[in-house]
Symmetry: C2
């Protein structure tokens, strides 16, 4: 049995990055950028008016002029107009280019416009450059705006749009297969016999993966039969980057997965991790035609399965996608917690922030690792070290959020 | 000009819940539940073995018996087997029903199995009920497991699957239209003239909405022309629940939206909010055939537009979808911040958690509200009250995350 840290290390050292591909910006949400993005020109590309009002030379105001003839109008989307006379002004709209000789914009609220003249209201305070978002002030042309590894959300895609990237190089989305096992599992729409239960792990895994941005997912179910397990595993391995199995991995007489996986040529990296839930976790890799497949066999218990997905599989998927890791999150225990076994504990908690900016982790009343009903009330889990057994109120621990 | 709180109130008091509809569980991710869900039977539905091992009567162990004849095998997915003799045992697999007369499961690691007998290892500690996840211990039949208003993520859908709900009643997804305006805006793939910029607000709005789970979204762009603006607004209002406009809403000579909206029969609730960015924000509603359309006209400046979406539009969408509000988040300022104007400030911040579970908000070097490049480095904004101008280091403020 190995520790959580060793398990994580053994996974990580086997992972290789996925290749990249071009996608349309419209469908790049949630993908991981695989190229740097540079500004193609100064941003803003011209001295941009930040108000509706008039543009003029500040020097004339400094010299005491308060009334200016209007010699033109500058609209957003129209070519830059010329300020012919330093004692005149042009009307200007928000977003329009400021004329070359103008260096100040007065807001329309601070003016009276009448008979072709603009007169400043009394008490208006101005300065050189006021009301102008100056060319290149957000960034100069050629600057690196986004680095490879960044997750593409609305704000990154907005930048990509503004610099003219209708297509983006991103890491290929991993092909993921989910395989559940177990004779006791029936369809959602079935009426189960007394000894049967409805299948839910496959849906929980798929939905969590979708929430984390993965789209290329297939689902399979196999009964507890060695030949069927071998055949299914073998066929799925061919065009899958990550194979996630649930159930059939422990020491039961019909736990055929370890045998079927090794039979199919998957090299076991480890099984058995000193953790609760999820002790039977199995991980290995398969060298297909020029590309590896990573195989995670998770315990079938719903809470174990869900926890191992978040603790091991989702981080591994982010890593093969080249995603730059975000900072770790920590939360404080809302009450003392005791756990004696020499195992790392993944403890589902209700997370809440107080008004002073502290995060609190309120543990669930601890039932068994099968209690997935209570887990619905939690937002994730904290990881409690196996080297201690008493975790005082107020101590802080690493928090892993459920994917939403 | 009204306050942020008044604006929020004026929006909220006009909102009516959307009707509900049945959807397949497979496509219910991100939707809001519109019915309560009850357990259809005890969970677990039978006394379930939590280990691979043997099931037996604890009384016989208490009386000193260590070696038990094996009289059968209980598999997950097979009908419950019978423990015929209280001094015997059955082999049992994880997830299998425990025989009626058995009340203890011994793990396979704690046993030796040989010649049809199981012998307990020395020093194994057991108790009545050990290794059994007892019937109804997660919840009894008929208990309410999920309430209307809950957002459906993996863990909620897993519960729905386990209680046999292949379809779920959820609030109808709002039909959203995004309309950008502005002669200066060109396509992402275009090479802009010096006075033009590429359009990015529509994509940023759409992607943020998609990240928040909204799928029924159309996009439109109109040039700065009164007749075209009137015609487009009028036609879109008919089959839209929420209309989001960007640009054309301020005091410029070609800001035709307020006129076009009122001309189309949209009743203005307010315009101008004492906030930065986003002061020109306009909100109104339109009474169509039996259903209202809510109209948010956001400023065209990318940061203003993005901020107003998160501060006003996304909360309104959650409200019409019937979603139970989550708790507010708070973060502490990492350094003193000063802001003199009597406006509520939405300040983009880099959020980080320290190892003691505190959240810190590190403000961006403050440029102008047009600096959407820097915003990419932030995770959201804090809201600073307009009644103060000095915000000391360490004071905590409400944090709004960007939708990811």
């Amino acid at each position: 049995m190995i520790s959580v840290e060793e398990a994580q290390h053994k996974i990580s050292e086997r992972l290789a990055p996925l290749p990249s591909e071009l996608v349309d910006i419209e469908s790049a949400r949630g993908r991981v950028l695989a190229e740097p993005l540079h500004s193609d020109r100064d941003l803003p590309p011209f001295n941009r008016s930040t108000f509706d009002g008039i543009a003029l030379s500040y020097q004339s105001i400094a010299q005491g002029t308060r009334k200016f003839p209007i010699t033109g109008t500058a609209y957003a989307g129209s070519p830059k107009v010329v300020l012919t006379d330093l004692d005149s002004c042009v009307e200007i709209m928000t977003g329009a280019p400021v004329p070359d000789k103008a260096n100040c914009v007065v807001k329309v609220e601070d003016l009276e416009i009448k008979d072709g003249f603009a007169t400043l209201n009394d008490g208006v305070e101005l300065s050189e450059g006021f009301g102008i978002h100056s060319q290149g002030s957000d960034c100069p042309a050629g600057k690196t705006l986004l680095q490879p590894g960044c997750l593409l959300t609305a704000k990154e895609l907005s930048i990509a749009a503004s610099i003219g990237k209708p297509q983006l190089l991103v890491s290929r989305t991993p092909r993921i297969a989910i395989v559940t096992t177990g004779d006791e599992l029936v369809e959602i729409s079935a009426l189960p016999l007394p000894h049967q239960i409805r299948r839910s792990n496959d849906l929980a895994l798929q939905v969590s993966l979708q929430s984390a941005g993965y789209r290329n997912i297939t689902r399979h179910h196999i009964l507890d039969d060695l030949a069927a397990t071998k055949a299914t595993v073998q066929s799925i391995l061919q065009d899958t980057d990550v194979l996630i199995l649930a159930g059939g991995v422990s020491k039961g007489k019909r736990d055929f997965l370890p045998e079927a996986l090794e039979n199919a040529g998957v090299t076991k990296a480890f099984q058995w991790v000193s953790q609760r839930p999820g002790k039977p976790l199995w991980f290995g890799d398969f060298e297909g035609e020029g590309k590896p497949t990573y195989v995670f066999a998770l315990p079938g218990n719903p809470v174990s399965c869900f926890t191992c997905l978040h603790r091991y599989v989702l981080p591994a998927l982010a890593e093969v996608s080249g995603q730059t890791p975000g900072p770790s999150q920590f939360a404080r225990l809302k009450c003392e917690f005791r756990f004696d076994p020499p195992l790392t504990l993944f403890l589902p908690v209700m997370l809440s922030g107080d008004e002073s900016g502290r995060l609190w982790a309120d543990p669930l009343p601890f039932n068994t690792s099968g209690d997935y009903i209570s887990v619905a009330r939690t937002q994730g889990f904290i990881e409690l070290s196996r080297s201690e057994s008493i975790f005082p109120k107020g101590t802080s621990h690493r928090f892993y959020p459920w994917s939403v």
